[in-house]
């Protein structure tokens, strides 16, 4: 009894933080691993549930689901070419608008702007990147669309001679809700995001590179064109892909303003639809099982497109954290 203080051969009882494979240690490790696996399971779950839910539509319409543009819940015929083309067209147009602007903003903030103004602007741009897309959508619906219809669309339609190429290009209901204004809203939405990431990208360039180029007598323009841009080329393409991914999958900003027609967009100011806007508009009120299956199948198409784009972006950006 009294020999408790004597050394024994038994190992000391584990104190509450002792090393070794204690029970708590195993549980904690398992919980972390399980959480990581849950992420994997979630993404797999998304793919599998979309594939299962959309299967009846693929079975019924086969490849024609992707190529036909007839979308008619009354006759139960669903072809997704309209929304698919609408998605791709609006995303690319928004990118064409936003990319030069975002690059310009980033270059200006990093290279030319006085430091005292550049930081507040950079912070403002980053904060604006976080504004929810429904706010952009509302602005598009209530402010941009009426203004655009009155001051841009109507004059263009009035001036175009009937039958000329302008007439074809600008044809459409002059209400401001069309694929062009939708692209504009998307561009305004991805602009702060892309500008913020471009700026971070430019800040990663070692100052020696710039200084060396300036030392050779380059003008700022030449430094940017020949040193800065080539140095972060891969990163730029990666950011463009991320922006594209956002534009492809954006729902609310587009749903408000694209006009929601399932036809093939045949002019710049035609009403159209995107995959996301079609799902948002119709899924809750889907009239039949085949209708919801077709919408879920659309979702799968959107997932595959964005997955491809994001995979390219990640491969190009490597381990960078955007």
């Amino acid at each position: 009894m009294a020999s408790a203080a004597l050394p024994t051969d038994e190992p000391p009882a584990a104190s509450r933080f002792a090393a070794g494979k204690s029970m708590g240690e195993t549980i904690f490790h398992a919980a972390c691993l399980a959480s990581a696996t849950l992420l994997l399971a979630t993404l797999s779950g998304v793919v599998i549930s979309l594939a299962i839910g959309g299967w009846p539509a693929f079975q019924q319409f086969g490849f024609g689901f992707l190529t036909s543009s007839e979308w008619n819940p009354v006759t139960e015929v669903y072809g997704a070419a309209g929304p698919i083309v609408g998605t791709l067209v609006t995303a690319f147009m928004s990118l064409v608008i936003a990319l030069p602007l975002a690059l310009g903003v980033a270059v200006f903030l990093v290279e030319f702007c006085p430091r005292s103004i550049s930081r507040p602007i950079a912070i403002a741009v980053e904060l604006l990147a976080g504004i929810p897309s429904i706010v952009y959508g509302m602005w598009g619906l209530f402010v941009l669309a009426p203004w655009f219809a009155e001051h841009v669309q109507l004059p263009l339609i009035m001036e175009a001679e009937p039958g000329s190429w302008q007439d074809k290009l600008f044809a459409g209901v002059p209400n401001g809700a069309n694929i062009f204004t939708a692209s504009l809203i998307l561009a305004v939405m991805i602009l702060p995001y892309m500008a913020a990431v471009f700026r971070e990208l430019f800040l990663t360039i070692p100052p020696q590179l710039r200084e060396a180029a300036y030392g050779l007598g380059c003008t700022p323009f030449e430094v940017i064109r020949s040193v800065v841009i080539p140095y972060v080329k891969r990163g730029i393409v990666g950011v463009v892909m991320l922006g594209l991914g956002r534009a492809l999958g954006e729902t609310m900003a587009v749903t408000f303003i694209i006009g929601n027609a399932h036809t093939f967009p045949d002019s710049l100011f035609a009403s159209g639809s995107t995959i996301a806007s079609t799902i948002a508009n119709e899924f809750a009120e889907a009239t039949s099982d085949m209708h919801s299956a077709a919408l879920v199948a659309l979702g799968l198409v959107l997932f595959l497109i964005t997955f491809g784009v994001l995979a390219i972006a990640r491969a190009l950006l490597g381990g960078q954290k955007y």
């Binding site: 933080f17 972390c32 992420l39 779950g45 690059l103 956002r246 809750a284 959107l302 994001l310 954290k321």
Partner: protein, 279 residues
């Protein structure tokens, strides 16, 4: 001489173009904020917070939507924080460099930028269709799926920033790995973890698309997690697309409230992150 002139002019043109791009971008963003404030500020009064959403033409507020947003964002964040912090910890401290770790990190990045409406569809197939009904639970889960990758990402980044000397010091004292992580690394990274949580919270508080087919919306005040629940974004969506002017006015008020909430959460997150870096 000619060449110098050409170079000088092209440079000036370039500088002017980038400044113009900045001006255009800022103008667009200022215009949006201005419409938001000018159309929304007039409608903010106590009724917004005390009365539920009205029928067209009658008086009302957004209290049910605000409450619903708070409940579902809270639910979503609770789930996202647990899973995200543990998963981020696993990536940083345990298996980040294994092949499986690379796969998880990549998939997390995909999930981070996956279209949020697809998350809504997924949760619909997972929780709404099998249980025959829209519910606040489903909305919370959908929001959690959107916030988790953000929390995971920031957790991993923050933990990777902690000096390995901290870990070694703990280990050298004989502490178990999980103890070192929980009591030393998490503690040192506390501010960063909070910031990550706030970023996730800011993101989901404005999400509309994933709630459309999960929580659906509810015109009455409801705190039941098994019933459809209103939320600010879905109510804004419904009201903005309606033909009634008073509903549209409420939609602007809601949009302004969301924008203010998101901006202030983001700003608080930044301040916390900066204070942590300073100390």
């Amino acid at each position: 001489m000619d060449r110098t002139l050409y170079r000088r002019i092209s440079n000036i043109v370039f500088v002017v173009l980038t400044a113009a791009a900045t001006l255009v971008a800022l103008t667009a963003l200022v215009l949006i904020l201005w419409s938001l404030v000018s159309k929304g500020i007039g409608g903010i009064d106590s009724k917004i917070f005390t009365m539920t959403q009205p029928a067209p033409g009658s008086e009302g507020g957004l209290s049910n939507a605000i409450m619903g947003s708070l409940i579902m964002c809270g639910l979503g964040m609770a789930m996202a924080l647990v899973v995200g912090i543990l998963a981020g910890t696993w990536l940083s401290e345990y298996g980040g460099n294994t092949p499986y770790g690379h796969v998880v990190r990549f998939l997390n990045d995909v999930l981070l930028s996956a279209p949020s409406i697809l998350i809504g569809l997924f949760v619909y197939e997972l929780l709404v269709r099998p249980f025959h009904g829209f519910s606040a639970w489903a909305g919370g889960v959908a929001l959690a799926i959107i916030a988790t990758p953000i929390v995971t990402r920031t957790t991993e980044d923050i933990l990777n920033l902690q000096p390995s000397a901290l870990r070694e010091a703990g280990m050298a004292l004989g502490a178990a790995r999980s103890f070192v992580i929980r009591k030393i690394i998490w503690k040192a990274a506390r501010a960063g973890l909070v910031t990550g949580g706030l970023l996730g919270f800011a993101r989901i508080s404005g999400e509309t698309a994933p709630l459309l087919f999960t929580a659906l919306g509810n015109q009455f005040f409801s705190t039941s997690l098994t019933q459809p629940m209103a939320s600010l974004p879905t109510t804004i969506f419904q009201f903005a697309l309606s033909a009634y002017e008073d509903w549209q006015r409420l939609a602007w008020v809601g949009a302004l409230l969301i924008a203010i909430a998101v901006l202030s959460i983001n700003i608080i997150g930044r301040i916390i992150a900066r204070e942590a870096r300073r100390s």
